[in-house]
């Protein structure tokens, strides 16, 4: 689905769209990285974990299941406490449930605090976000924008619900920046970077980011433009999208509000895969 919004101002719009994307992703989340997932990982795969009560974040390579106990998973430590590097650890199902495992690099201590703040914000909103969701690999959304302006825009802003303690907007997003491969549910990337495919939602923030549309093969795209950025070349492309779009029924997005903000102009299209 391609959604295009033309606005009087793009200020904070990508940040709020990203926030919406996170909330929707958290609501839809039912899985998580399980013991079975760990056992099914091919030999040589990278795995990341935090052990309770330890400051070190670990990284290792999955090894073969030991012949002497098929219920264990062996991991060669490649990063972590210095004394452990190069050693092999054997994880049982019980030990697995004590640790926090992920297929992506875990955040720093500050990042972990930010994740806690994000979960607190979800609780304040009345959402029952599963604690495993932020620690499970896989992006919910990718914001393609001018990173410096985006981060400057949300700097010093806080968000919260009435009667609750507000959290830093940056924490509510917990977004990884640029090529930082740390586990996150939202990534903010520059227009010039090469972006991974398969993200559920890409938010193309601004005229320059719009040009990325030609490189996107599948998934959902939200384009945010201010009124002056909606130029004839973009208009022509949107008209093409309009002509190729599958007919949409008004009920396809049931959660839409009755009335959108004044000054907002939006259109949505479902484009065939070819």
């Amino acid at each position: 689905m391609l959604v295009v919004a033309v606005l009087p101002s793009r200020k904070l719009s990508a940040a709020f769209a990203g926030l919406g994307c996170l909330l929707a992703g958290a609501k839809e989340f039912h899985g998580g990285f399980t013991w079975e997932d760990l056992r099914a990982m091919p030999v040589g795969s990278k795995i990341y974990w935090n052990a309770p009560g330890e400051r070190s974040r670990y990284e290792g390579d999955i090894g073969a299941i030991p012949a002497w106990d098929a219920e264990l998973v062996s991991v060669l430590i490649t990063k972590g406490a210095r004394k452990d590097i190069g050693t092999i650890w054997y994880f049982s199902s019980a030990k697995f449930s004590e640790c926090l495992f992920s297929e992506e690099c875990l955040p720093t201590q500050r990042g972990t605090v930010a994740v806690e703040n994000m979960l607190q914000f979800h609780r304040d909103l009345g959402l029952h976000t599963k604690p495993k969701w932020p620690w499970t690999a896989g992006l919910e959304g990718l914001i393609v924008t001018n990173q410096t302006q985006f981060l400057a825009g949300i700097d010093d802003l806080q968000i919260g619900t009435r009667n609750s303690k507000a959290v830093a907007f940056e924490d509510a997003l917990c977004a990884a920046k640029g090529n930082d491969k740390t586990l996150s549910k939202l990534r903010v990337a520059s227009v010039g970077q090469i972006h991974e495919q398969g993200v559920p939602l890409r938010i193309l923030d601004g005229g320059e980011a719009f040009d990325q549309i030609h490189n996107i093969e599948s998934g959902n795209v939200l384009v945010l433009l201010d009124r002056i950025e909606y130029t004839p070349d973009k208009h022509n492309l949107i008209l093409d999208a309009c002509n190729s779009s599958v007919t949409l029924s008004p009920g396809i997005l049931p959660a839409l509000p009755v009335q959108l903000s004044p000054g907002m102009e939006v259109a949505a299209f479902i484009l065939p895969s070819d």
Binding site: V4, V6, L7, P8, S9, K11, L12, N146, T148, Q149, G153, L157, G192, G207, E208, D226, R227, I228, E229, Y230, T231, P232, D233, H235, I238, L239, C242, T247, L248, S249, P250, I252, L253, L256, P257, V258, Q259, L260, S261, P262, G263, M264, E265, V266, A267, A268, F269
Partner: protein, 523 residues
């Protein structure tokens, strides 16, 4: 400035943009009407293909712009209408066809000097006094930079003769309007000369709740349409259509209707641009479409459509200022263009070397000596033909081969092209026989991509380094519109030029004219 949060400000902008009230205010003045009509007649009598008459047209435009946009009394020394009139009269009297029109102009301008009170100023003063009496606490903006980035007929110092209350903020650049939300913006005359960006900020981007456009008889205002998204079933009934509530107290009689068709300012604007840059107004073979950007220092350049330019986005604290990329059609009056002088190749080499660029280049482009060897006995055209037979595509393959051989370009731009090149070199026994050609091509292709990545990152590093260095260099440096060259700590020289205007129509020019800043014609 309103003290408001970013949320309040954004909400207000959305509300304003959804419904902006635009009012055309007719400023009746028979003496002005006579002078403006005389300007129009004289302009119509000139042959602008002749250099002398083209220069006279330019002076006449300055006179007209001074009349339209000034708030000063018409006998003001700073305005110097008498001086301008004398220059025009002296030139125009040499053109027999213009004699009658010159006489009318003489009468019109002298009539204004004899009765110097400025009707637009009187209206403005009355309007502000009225607002003060009703105790309305409102923020009013007054657009002063109306004529292709120039401010005509405006006091040059703060102690000038126009007295305006503190509640009126002067809008003399894009920065001035983009930093505030106004209850009302007053536009001193026709908006034909404003850039698209400035026009959009005033009318479409929610900067003002209402806009008053002051017009003399014969002066025209027209709303520029903007593109809108196609209607969409999903959002039908959920969106409030944005509208411009346009009212006018201008009552046009039959003679006036005739003038609407002519719209002299529109005609003058086109002539001014044609005289400034000389680009073709329609496509011709071998010419490129570009937009002309005029700078305040009297120089200008053609920029291909959609080309992003670097703009110095100045903040109150210079150290926090940034460099933004802005597409040419979105430049506005007062933007500072940042242009790099000279070659940065050496600096790029230094940064790239840190990432092992040299070694990688040697490994990835190990086919270059083989290509050099083949070029001793085969022409590039012959090699190109063989490559096409091997599946390569492209019109200028022979030139590409020369570029690969001399290293101007690292290598082929697609894996398919690289495969065909390596196949040709292998077939001529210039490269050692490969067991797995697919793997060989793949490895070289990945290597080429990495090579380009290193260079791209080096370019970005260099670009990012310019910003803090420029901020530092400018922190004790007052910017003025004259050509500014700033030498940065890393040896790079950047030039800063302030945008005066951007042609709203495309021109067609030779490729060699693109991005080449030079004095505008007749400057």
């Amino acid at each position: 400035m309103r003290s408001s949060s970013i949320f309040q400000e954004t909400t207000l902008r959305f509300r304003n943009a959804a419904s902006v009230r635009v009012r055309e205010v007719l400023i009746e003045s028979s003496s002005i009407a006579i002078a403006l009509q005389a300007c129009r007649e004289l302009f119509g009598a000139l042959d602008r293909s002749d250099t002398f008459q083209a220069n006279l047209s330019r002076k006449l435009w300055e006179l007209r712009a001074s009349l339209l946009y000034t708030l000063m009394p018409f006998d003001s020394v700073e305005l110097d209408l008498a001086g301008l009139l004398k220059m025009i009269r002296d030139d125009a009297l040499q053109i027999p066809a213009a004699n009658e029109a010159v006489k009318s102009l003489d009468q019109g301008i002298n009539g204004l000097i004899a009765r110097p009170s400025n009707p637009k100023y009187l209206w403005l003063k009355g309007s502000i006094e009225e607002a003060n009496e009703s105790n309305e606490s409102s923020t009013t903006g007054l657009v002063t930079m109306m004529a292709m980035g120039r401010t005509f007929g405006w006091p040059t110092n703060a102690g000038g003769c126009v007295e305006l209350p503190a509640s009126v903020q002067l809008i003399d650049s894009h920065k001035a309007i983009a930093s505030m939300i106004f209850d009302k913006v007053i536009v001193l005359g026709t908006c034909h000369y404003l850039t698209l960006r400035m026009y959009s900020e005033i009318f479409h981007l929610g900067r003002a709740n209402g806009v008053d456009v002051l017009l003399y008889p014969g002066e025209r205002f027209s709303l520029r349409e903007r593109l809108k998204l196609p209607d969409n079933a999903i959002f039908r009934g959920k969106l409030a259509a944005s509208r411009i509530v346009h009212s006018s107290d201008v009552i046009r009689n039959a003679d006036d209707e005739l003038l609407v068709d002519i719209d002299i300012d529109n005609e003058m604007k086109r002539s001014m641009w044609e005289m400034a840059h000389g680009g073709k107004s329609s496509a011709e073979p071998g010419l490129q479409a570009a937009r002309y950007v005029l700078c305040k220092d009297g120089r200008g350049m053609f920029v291909p459509e959609n080309t992003p330019l670097l703009v110095w986005a100045e903040r109150t604290n210079r150290i926090d200022s940034t460099i933004k990329t802005v597409p040419v059609e979105q430049l506005a009056e007062g933007n500072w263009l940042v242009m790099q002088l000279g070659d940065t190749g050496h600096l790029l080499d230094l940064i790239s070397a840190e990432a092992g660029f040299g070694q990688k280049m040697e490994k990835v482009c190990d086919w270059r000596p083989a290509l050099d060897a083949l070029m001793l006995t085969y022409s590039t055209d012959q090699i190109a033909k063989e490559m096409i037979a091997n599946g390569a595509q492209g019109m200028s393959l022979a030139q590409s081969i020369r570029n690969w051989a001399d290293g101007t370009v690292y290598g082929p731009g697609s894996q398919n092209e690289l495969r065909s090149l390596l196949n040709v070199l292998l077939s001529h026994h210039k490269l050692p026989v490969q067991k797995d050609i697919d793997q060989y091509v793949h490895d070289h292709w990945i290597g080429l991509k990495e090579l380009r990545g290193i260079r791209l990152r080096a370019g970005m590093t260099l670009h990012n380094s310019i910003q803090p260095l420029l901020a530092k260099a400018l922190s004790h440096h007052e910017l003025s519109f004259e050509n500014q060259i700033v030498k940065l700590e890393n040896g790079i020289q950047v030039q800063l030029s302030q945008v005066a205007a951007v042609d709203d129509q495309l021109s067609w020019v030779q490729e060699s004219s693109l991005l080449h800043l030079k004095a505008m014609r007749g400057a």
